[in-house]
Structures are given as structure tokens and as C-alpha cells.
Symmetry: D2
Subunit: 427 residues, 4 copies
């Protein structure tokens, strides 16, 4: 991607005074460096390829007139801790700071914008959202699929929505881009802002997605239990499958937090099961030495073992992953049976528990800032953008970055080095 | 069972002075009424069939000489919260109160008493057990099977063990009875005491087994998450499978603690899936009315649906249950597909997480008292007994009560009435 | 108290059919034995002084006609975990089981029944109470004092209340007795039922008050922190003050659950600070040996040290206790300074945190049963009664038992013996 | 401070090969930009005042020969979550990665390096530290004061320590600078590295100190309880005092995470109690409107009210703060009494509980990286440095930055704006 792709779209000239009063407003010219190593910056200066990102924050002039603005909010895709915090903060910010009186909660994601689905929206007010941050999930509900841009824009028009906040991941952004294009086609004045949600923390240019800290903290509890189970039986082996379709950040971080893990298997690092450098022989050695072992595996790891399986896709268009946890359990039981070694394998899949807990305090605060900046951007008439955080600054990203690919663990980087130090694993 | 079966076996006459000093000792003649309703007692008086249980507690005279006593401790079967607390309290009580210096931790249950398994025991001291109550599982490990009484008594003799504490459930007690009989055959002076462990809380004559409170408290967390998942999707259905092979106490109590559950399915209450009074039609009505539903199912519920399956048994001799949770999910998806109703079913099986957490404070205290009374009984030369609690009193039960059957939920009782009130379910 | 005092008052003859349908109703003649030791019962039989308690539960005939019944609920005195669970279960039981449509939540305890205080009541419905069990405190609020029986009965009449549930402790029951007498004076048909609330668990004839388990579990967290603080400094001493005005059950149980405590000081056990058998010399020895110490003190312990202080009373008529925790800290610092021993004393008072957490699952279930039985009793026209649990059975107690005194720790009993075993303390 | 002050001292030329093998080593020339806004950087380029920080990470050449290196570790000052994680990770990194066999744990901070205090050190190995991350506090203990550089360097020499890790805050760094100077005076080859510990998160050039996230998460629990207490009484007011001597970050973040707080009082923002713009009149209005209020106050807030008090200093040389929480409670009770308004003020000081909990998973991971980078720096012969993190990169800071002052909340910044939005407070 060249640096120009980082320009942010705007609906038009901002003419209304911000109601936020005497604060330090942020100017569109304020841009955040992508790199922070001075050596790289110097090179970029010379080659004229400096990458900078538009800084988020309150603008002095707004595109929308608060008094006549209608906001829409939807949560799409799988659950993630923090959805209610984002909803709550959007409503508080819109209502108290920008005096937007009309806020419409769309139920069950984009599906709630398909009028033929007959799903009534929910009017959102500060009173409605007062306590929702104490619960996991989303009071609006969520769902996959249903991203017909024509129907969605029909609904946005019917509800009179001017600023639309779509909280969701990849699929949601892909849908939002089509919605923006349909809006442009119709020449409408609707801003579309994404607050990125992916429990896997794999969005490029975004240091950390909301819900990630809560998720790996919750994963630690499952790991602790699997460790107890592993130690509780002769040759006990605990397997914990965690989220991580293409990036193993949850698995890696959770293993660093609870240092009892012996093997972390992630999509980014290739590994074999059989053979002299495979998992099983190493595991056999460890069992001989210590009598138990603990394995954490990201759901997207080892998908090469399922090459012959027919690919299936979910409603968001994501390829359904084969169950690497169950596969590991079965293959390892076969391996040790063939070696006449008695093992006791306990397999835990805590995914639904992890993703449905309330946000922890760090995530709660983070969700608040994401929401506040999303509202600033929307009211200033910016559109087709994702709210992010980079180098400790909140930023605007064009939705198109979603096509760049995923943020992944670099096997040569400090994170993976620490994982290997902590686990002692060979790969 | 007639009342005589409640007599407790003793190795012989107690002649040593208890080292516990100036306290209120309990006499063997102190007996606890089984029934507490005066009407029933009156009837029993007349029919001469009054049921009473021997009261547990410190005896003034001991059978074993503390200075020459060697204690053995083993944890058998599946994990349950509180095992470490029981171990820790046994060691503290033996060591500090009774001055027993030699305490041998048998590893991996009865298996550690099969010398041919080459599993070294662990010397237990107050320093070793000081912090173990903070961790789940058992520092001794556990396992199923390996209950050859000849080998076990060989090992008890080889280690010089006089008082042997077997912490475990049904299978453990059945094994212990054979061990006692082998001890008698050889004319040995070894007391065998069971501290009953069953997460299902289904032992008759015992109000509550240790770990039960922690378990259903932990189950509540899984239910809370399933509720979030159910509400998070259109026609979302959460299924949580909980422990409960023949008795649904965990499922029932957890559902009463977290009142969001709509259906509790337990082994004691028959139910159908199809038909006008079956689960599915009722569920369909509820989805129409509320848009989501939450089901808690005990693992032993609905086993009638698997009548045609081949029975498989685990190493403890328990019949392996078929997975009612997965079955429900599949059948219900088929049902709703046939009705062209879109549903989103999330199935959570938190069993390994539940059973491996540390005991909560209530259970911790309870484990302590069970252990203290087990030591009192053993030092007084009692054997073939289970430590229990009934009508707020700690008691001695003969191991033979294990043959009486299980404690079960009475569908006409207050517990089930409350469940039905709370869920609104028809069965 | 003689056994006659355990008779329960009734408003009159019950004539209405219970709407509970085909269940096992409880008859008034069913009585629960107070003692369960057969030896004691035998003696009582001979002396004709057998103590029995009326069994709680659903009655087949009701005094009140559900269709025309108005219920009132108030929570009085200090906060305790479980208040919202009791409120919620009362409402569910009244509404769903007994079809009582009119339920009035009185705000801020008896104060809300003083019309001149201008506190509007809250209409309670199943929808209002649906989620309140997830929060600590009481949605009705609470307060002390304001127990003018004339004003209270005026308000009951004005609101048309027939069955009044007063959730509270000693002071609340004393107030309720006066209210009942004023009701009798006016010849009204109002049942008054108390659900006993005392975090101290010191009510006689009641095995365990609601909120107690949650409280001592929460106290364990504070103890754990104080232990960390004590070990973190040279000669570190942690002091944790817990609830317990006249009975040290929370202090004792919490210390048994978290075995790091070295001294438990409770109102029932006398102790000195100075002198050869006093706390300080023993503490000094321990510091020499181990370098740190952990003390748990019930708020009512050691009040003899404040004999010269002027007594102050709170609005409930309870004598304000002097701060034994602060006193211990100051005196101990003086003592060690005089001995030229550097110590680091950290004093933690977690009372407000303990009492305001939500009920844990055990307490949640218990609150539900207390509430259900309270409704059964009220609808049957019983009055002037306290709902209790004794020997695993729910029972009715006359309010007058409140005058009998407190349930206290018996220094010769198993509980205190365990505390001494666990702490190693001399007193 | 000019940019030159950010140069890092080195003991000499690094000649040994790193044992870390084939990884991406970091070069000393790699420098991290202090500012990330391109506008600021441009200005700095022109004025030749660009501020950059040395990047932390593994160096290819080491100053110390692993085989002959002795490491020392001490934890100084007050407790903070994460100390045990840092200790554990230092030991793992030194031992497993750098093969340093000799690691000495100094007990009770600098005091343990005063030989006349007769405090034996603790030998640290991977086995010793295996489980310590599960406990709060520091297994080494901590203390204030005792920073005589001559005695400390005597001990470092006596123990043969080459690399010394001092975990602590301001006072610790001030002491470490004197130690470094004494080392230089004697011409010794000892590297001194600080891992900064301040629960207040107020160190400049460091985005977040370890333990901070855990602390404000724990503070949230106390706030939740105070909220329950405030709502539980008529005109209930909850006051929670949190850490924050000169910076109110914990108070601000905790209030953003749990949005029930109505007033956040921090050292950076001046406020009055009396008068038309003071806290009390605003509070009175709020009580009229809502019936309860919740106040969070940082310990360093409002110290102007104690101007007449005699200043007292602790052993670390920190001025003892006067108790603003107790002062607020007293003054506010006087105020409302003078207005004949009944209020119920509950004051909670959870500081000892907050600082002694184990690190949460986020902090645990962060502690690990800090420790790893500290070891990299020490082995490369760098000294007089603090390990920090800035703009998502781990960096080296000279100890002298401690003199620059504190990181503080900027009243015009997004953090405080969010606090005001969330609380609605006027100042």
C-alpha cells in the first residue's frame, strides 16, 4: 500500500461550531508517524515515502448539525468483550457532548438493517446504557452475513440516519465499504465509521483491538485449569484451544502470562506432529522427564493437516476452520498407544466463555476512547474510516487497509522469543 | 438397609490417651438422629426402628500410639475442588495435633499402591502442604482403576502404614472395602477411612460433599456466559452441560443461583424432545416469545436417547455416558431446520474448568473439618468408615452404605419446585 | 426460654385453596427437633421438655386471598450480601406462584414507612427484579432507626399492605414486634414476617444467616492481601478487622479458609495485650521466629480496653464499638518501640467492601429458599415470625427468640479448636 | 533536560558473543523518537533538537562473560502488583538465556545490602521462582530507606555481584545513582539497572509502569462497592481514596472504567470545598437530584487544605501526605449538618488491598518484557539506566530523568476530558 491510501474521505466542508467548548482541538494536519525508529524515518525522508496517519480527536468545526443528526449503531460478527462499553460510550458521547438526541440501536448487526427481517431497532439513551458495561455480549445482539448494501442503505435512509457506527471485524468492514459506495452512488450525506472488533488482535496499524486484553486474561484461567488437569493424572496432557484464526496473539500472550505452558502452537509457525523434529517425540521426552505437559493451540494452527477436507464458509464469508484441538488429541492418543505409553489427554475449548465475559477495566477505558474518537470523526463528516490506535495515539485509518492482510507474530521478534524462552519448545 | 448396618467397625480396644488435652471429647454412644421431624421419630420409637448415626469427633482413648503411627493418604478418581485442602488438613491434624511424624503421600490414587507401577510416594509435612490449598487439583495426582486389594495391602505393609486415608467416590469405596477385607484376612492392624468425594453430591446420608459448592459456583459462570451468547444472536440458544451422572444437583443449584436458565434437564426427571409435551415445541414457543433460550443439562440426563449405543466403561467401572449436550444441539438444529426457523446454538462444556479450580472458602473450611474428623476416627482405630455430615453434625458411616444407591432430586420436593418456578419449564 | 415460646402466631383460620397445585404440602403439626443427639432427646422425652420447631413450607390452605393481597417489602439496617436476591425471590414467588399482583417496595427500611419522610415506594414486578441479583446492596436502599410503630402501621394501612416482609436484624425484629402489637391493637389483618439478616451469623436457632458465606469468602481476600503485606516487610504485621460485634464467626471461618492467620481475636475469647500471657509477648516471639505475623480481629473483640470511653449508640440502638483494630496497631507500635524492635504494621478494614458485594451462588440459592418460605408463611396468615433454617430444614421461629441472646463461638467446640490448631495461638 | 542527557552510560567495550543465537539483535544506534507527531518532528529537525531514546533489546556483543557473572536482585519501596513477575522473569532470562548460574536475591530492598542488618540473601533459581507469579507482593520482601551507598557497594563487592537489578521508584533510583557513583569512585565493574516501579504511573518517558493496570482494575472493585454503599442509604455518599501522590492516573482511569463515579479529585486539578464553585454545593445539588453520590479522591489531592500541618517524611524521603479522604468525610459531614441535611458518608481506603494482589495477565506479560530487556542491557554492560517503554518500544533511559519531575494529567487532554464527560463534574 502506498502512503496515499491513508488519506481519509470526508463528506464535505465542516461549517458548524463544535459544542465541546474550550478544549485543545485536533487539526486534520496533525499526523502520526507510522514508524518510530529514527533510522527508518531518515530513510523515508530521503526517499520521500514517509508514512503518516491522520490523528483522531475532536475537530473545531463539524459537518453535521448536532440538533438534526440521527446516529445509528450496530454490532456485527462474533461476540467480543467490550461491545457494550463501546455502545455505552458512543451514546454518552453523542448525547452529552454533542447533544445528539436521536440514537438508534440496530439489532443483530447488518441483519437489523434488512427491513424484510422485521427486526425492530432499539432507541438508545444514556439511561438505557447506564449499566450495560457490567455485562458481556452486546445489548444490540449481533449476527453474521446479511450485508446487502442496497437494503442497508434503504434502511439507513428510512431511519434517517446520518452517522452510522458499525462495530465489527473484517467482514463488517468489507460490508461497510460497499455501503459507503452505495451511499455515494445515491449522493447521500451519511458518514460510516468502523470501530474495529477482532478478538484475535490481528488488524494491521492497530496496536491492540478492544477485548483482546480481557480475552487473553480469561484464557489464562482456562490454561490454569488445564495445568491442574495435566498434573492431576499420570502422563497427563492438557490441551487448550484458543481463538486465533490467522494470528496467534491470544495464545502467545496468555502463555507468557501463565508460564506453565510447554508448547504454544500458532498459525504463523509451522510444526509437524510426527518425525524426529515433530511435536510428539518432543512431548514424549517431556513426559518422561516431568510426567505431564500443557499445550496451547490457536484455532488456526496446523490447518495444513486438513488439506484434504472440503472447505466450508460461514455467513461472514470466513472459511470454517477444522478442529485442530480435537485432531491433536486423537493423533496424540494414537501415537502414545502405538508406543504403549499410557497418557491422559484433557482437551478444553473455552472460546465461548472467553468471548462473553464483560470487558476488564483496561479494555473498558480503551473502548471509551475508541468510541469518543469515533464520534469526533463522524460529526466532522469523515467517512469510510476505521478508528485505531498507533504509537499511543488514536488515529484514523481508511477502511481499505483491511485488504492489506493481517498483523501476525514475527517468529524473530521479541514476543515469539519470549514464548520460546518460557515454554522451552523447539519451534 | 436396617439400622444395624450403621454400626462402625473398630480394630480393637483403645488404650492410649489422646494428646488433645482438655477438650470436650465425643463418646461412641453419642448418636445423631437420621430424621429430625418429630412425627417420624415418634413412629420409629414405637416400631423400634429408630435410625441413628455414630457421631464423629475426637475420642479420649486412641487405638494407635501416635509415636509409632504411619499415615498414608491417596486421592482417587476424577478431580474435584478441595482435594488439596483435605490433604493439607489431614497432614496438619496428624502432625500438629496427634504428633504423627510419618505421613506418606501416595501418588496417583490406588495406582501408587501398585509397587509394580514404580511410582514413588511423596513424604508429606506441614511445610510441604503449607500453600497447596491455593491451587486446584491434587498435589498427589489421581487416577482411576488399579484396585487390586492384594497389591494394595502389600504396599501398605511395605510402607508400614497403619492409618490409610482414601479420598474418593464410589469406586474408591468399593476398592476400600476389598482392601479392608484383605487386611482382615491377613489379620493386620490397619485402619481405612474414606473421605467421600463426588462432585455430583449424590452420596446418601451426606448432606453435602466437599467441592460441591465450589463446583456449582463455577458452573454459574459458564451459565452466565451461555446466557450472553444466547442473547447475542437472533434465536440464540445456549446449552451448558454440567456434571451429574445420576443426580442433577449441580445443574439444579446452579440454575437457582443464576436465574436466567429456562430449562434444566436432569437424570431424575424424564423428558422428551419431540411431540406436543417435548422440549422442542416448548422451546419453539419460547423463542417466538423471547428470542433466545438457555438450557442446562446434567451429563446423565436423557440417556434413554442412547439406548441403542454399545455400553463402554471407564477404569473406575463407571459406564461412560453418551454426550447428551452434543445430541441436544444436533437434534434441535435438525428440528428447527425442518421448521425453517433460523437458530444459533452455542454449546458449552465447562466440566474440566469447573472441577480444577481451587476450593472456595466455604468448601475450604468444610474440607478442614472432614479431614480433622477422619483423623480422629482413624486414631481411635475405627475402620471401614466414611466421614460424613448429617443434620449439621459430623458422623461416621459404614462403607457399605455405598450400596444403598444415590441421593437424588425428589421431583416433588422444594428444590425441584424452585427450579420449576425459576425456569418456568413444564417438566 | 421454655418450649411454649416457640408457638407461632396466626391471624386466623386459613380457608383459601393454595394455588400451588399438586405438591407435597407441609402441615402445621410437622415439627423439627431442636436437638439431634439421641441422648439429649431421650432425656427431654422423660422430662417432658422436648424442644421442637414449626416446619416451614407451603400450606394447603391460605389465610389471604391471592387476588386481593398486597405485599410490602423493606430492607432495614446495614447492607449484607443477598438482599437483592431475597427481594427478587419474594417478588417471583408472590407473583408467579401465588399470583399476587400488587407488590410494594418500601425504600430505605422502616423510614420509607414514615409518610412524613416523603419517600415514594417502588412498585416491584418480575421485570423490575430480573437482574438485581447481579448487584450488591439493596435496590430498595436501607437505613437505621425510624421505627415508630404508629407511623409504620399508618403507612401499611395507607398502602393497603396485607403481608409485610421486613428483612433485617435485631433492631428490625424489635421494631417488627412493636408493629405487630400496634396491628393487633388496631385489629388489622396484616401478617409481618422477618427474614433475618445479620452478617455476623449470630442469631440463635438459625444455622447460617444469608450473606454469611459470601462475607467470609470476601474477608479471605482481605486476609490474603494482609498476609502479602506482612511478608513484604521486615517484621511485617498485618491486621485485618472483620465484622463480628458479639460473635466472631466471620473471623473464625475466614481464618480457617485461609490458613495463614496467626492470631484470631474474637469477642467470645478474652485476651490481654501486655504481660507474659498477652498477645504482644507471643507476637514478639513469633516475629523472632518467622519475621512476620498476621492478625484477624473481630470488631467486637477486646472492647474491655475501652471501658473508660463514653458509650455512643447508633440509630438502630446498637452501641458503637471502639476501633479495636486501630487500638491494636497503636499499642503494638508503642510496645515494639519500647523494645527497640522495628516493626511495620499494616491495618486493613475491609468491612464496607465485604458487605456490598453480590451474594455468591450458595448464598443466592439460600436467599431464594428463605424468601419462598417467607411467602408460604405469610400467605398462610402466620405472623410475628422469623424464617430460619435448622438441622437442614426451614423453620418458623417466633420473633421473641431475638431476646434470648446471641449465637456465639463455644471455646471448647470444634470450630475454635480448629482455629487454634490452624493459628497455633495460645488463647 | 537537553537531548544529550539521554545518552546511556556503558561500563566499557562489549567483547563476548551473545549466547542468544540466530535472532535479530538490536544495535545501539537504533533510537526511538520521543514525539510521534510529524509536525513536531519537522520542527525539531530544523532546530536540531530532535529527541530520541536508545532502543532496548538483545545486543550481539556482551560486556560480561555469562559464565563468570553474578546477578543481584532487590525490590525496594512499597509493594506493587508484578514484583514477583519481574523477579521470576529476571531469573528465567538470566538463567536460561544467558546461562548465568549465580543469582542472589537481596531481601528487604537496599536494607538487605547493609551487612550490619544481618539479613541473609536468598539464592534464586528457576525452581525457586516457578510459581511465585501467582502471589502478590515480593518473595524478597521490600523496605524503605537504608540507602548508604558505601555500605551497599561493600555488599555488592562482598557478594561478588556484577549486574545489579534494583526494582523500585524515585527513592530507589536516587539511591541507585549514588551507588553507581560509589562504584565509579572505586573503579568497579558493576552494572546497575532499574526496573521502575510506581503504582502511580507517574514516571516521565514511560507510557505505563508495571502494576498500574492491575491496580486500577482492583480499584474498580472498591469503587463498585462504594457505589453500592452510596445507593444503599438515603443521601448516601461513598468516598474512595486511591493511590496517587502527585498524579491522579489511577483515580482517573478507574473512574473511566466504572462509570458510576460523580467526582474525581486529583492532585493536578485544584478544587475548593466551600463556596459557590466548591465541591460541597455541587454535591448538595446532586444529592437533591439523585439521592446519592460517589467520590474518588487520589491521596495527593487537596493537600493545600493541610498547609498548616507539620511536614513528616518517611524512610524513602517522601513527604507523608495528610489523609484527604478522612478530611473530606469530616468536613462534608459538618457542611451537611450545618444545612440540616441528613447524609450517610462511607469512606473506603483500599490501598493495601490494591497493591498486594497478584499482577493481572496484562501486567504479567509486561513485567516479563521489562525484565528481559533489563537483562539484555545489563549483560551488554550498560549502567545507570532505567528500562522503559515508549511509543510501543522498549527503551533505555538514563537514571537522571528522575529529576525531571512527574508525568501528570493534563487538564486539557483527552483523559481528563473523558473524566469530566463521564462524571459531569464542574472542575
Amino acid at each position: 500500500m502506498d502512503k496515499l491510501s491513508f488519506a481519509i474521505k470526508s463528506l464535505g466542508r465542516s461549517i458548524y461550531h463544535s459544542p465541546l467548548g474550550d478544549i485543545d482541538f485536533v487539526k486534520d494536519e496533525e499526523r502520526v508517524l507510522f514508524d518510530v525508529l529514527w533510522g527508518k524515518i531518515k530513510d523515508q525522508l530521503h526517499s520521500d515515502e514517509l508514512i503518516t496517519l491522520e490523528r483522531a480527536g475532536p475537530r473545531e468545526r463539524l459537518y453535521f448539525d448536532s440538533a438534526r443528526t440521527v446516529a445509528g449503531i450496530a454490532t456485527c460478527g462474533g461476540l467480543s468483550p467490550g461491545l457494550n462499553n463501546v455502545i455505552s460510550s458512543l451514546v454518552m458521547q453523542l448525547s452529552h457532548q454533542y447533544k445528539v438526541a436521536d440514537i438508534i440501536g440496530i439489532r443483530y448487526g447488518y441483519r437489523g438493517l434488512h427491513i424484510d427481517q422485521k427486526i425492530n431497532p432499539l432507541r438508545l439513551t444514556p439511561a438505557v446504557v447506564e449499566d450495560i458495561h457490567n455485562s458481556g455480549g452486546s445489548i444490540l445482539g449481533s449476527s453474521r452475513g446479511y450485508s446487502d448494501p442496497v437494503k442497508i442503505v434503504d434502511a439507513l435512509q428510512q431511519y434517517g440516519i446520518n452517522v452510522f457506527f458499525a462495530i465489527g471485524g473484517d467482514g463488517t468492514v468489507r460490508g461497510a465499504i460497499e455501503v459507503v459506495e452505495e451511499i455515494e452512488r445515491r449522493g447521500l450525506d451519511i458518514a460510516v465509521i468502523n470501530i474495529p472488533k477482532t478478538i484475535d488482535n490481528d488488524i494491521p496499524f492497530i496496536t491492540k483491538t478492544f477485548g483482546f486484553e480481557t480475552s487473553f486474561a480469561e484464557a489464562v484461567e482456562a490454561i490454569r485449569c488445564a495445568h491442574v488437569e495435566a498434573k492431576g493424572a499420570p502422563n497427563g496432557i492438557g490441551i487448550v484451544k484458543l481463538m486465533g484464526r490467522e494470528s496467534g496473539f491470544i495464545a502467545a500472550q496468555a502463555s507468557l502470562a501463565q508460564k506453565d505452558v510447554n508448547y504454544v502452537l500458532v498459525p504463523e509457525i509451522d510444526f509437524d506432529l510426527e518425525g524426529p523434529y515433530g511435536l510428539f517425540q518432543n512431548l514424549e521426552q517431556r513426559l518422561k522427564r516431568r510426567g505431564h505437559a500443557l499445550i496451547v493451540v490457536a484455532e488456526g494452527a496446523g490447518q495444513k493437516f486438513f488439506r484434504d477436507e472440503q472447505a466450508i464458509y460461514d455467513a461472514s464469508g470466513n472459511k470454517k476452520l477444522c478442529d485442530i484441538g480435537g485432531y491433536l488429541k486423537q493423533k496424540m492418543e494414537e501415537y502414545f498407544e502405538s508406543k504403549h505409553i499410557d497418557v491422559s489427554v484433557k482437551y478444553i475449548d473455552p472460546s465461548y466463555i472467553i468471548r462473553s465475559v464483560p470487558a476488564n477495566p483496561s479494555d473498558a477505558v480503551y473502548c471509551g476512547f475508541l468510541a469518543e474518537n469515533a464520534v469526533h470523526a463522524a460529526m466532522a463528516g469523515k467517512t469510510r474510516l476505521i478508528i485505531g490506535k498507533w504509537n499511543s495515539m488514536f488515529i484514523h485509518l481508511p477502511m481499505d487497509i483491511i485488504t492489506v492482510g493481517r498483523k501476525k507474530i514475527d517468529p524473530k521478534d521479541a514476543l515469539w522469543r519470549s514464548v520460546k524462552l518460557s515454554t522451552g519448545q523447539p519451534f
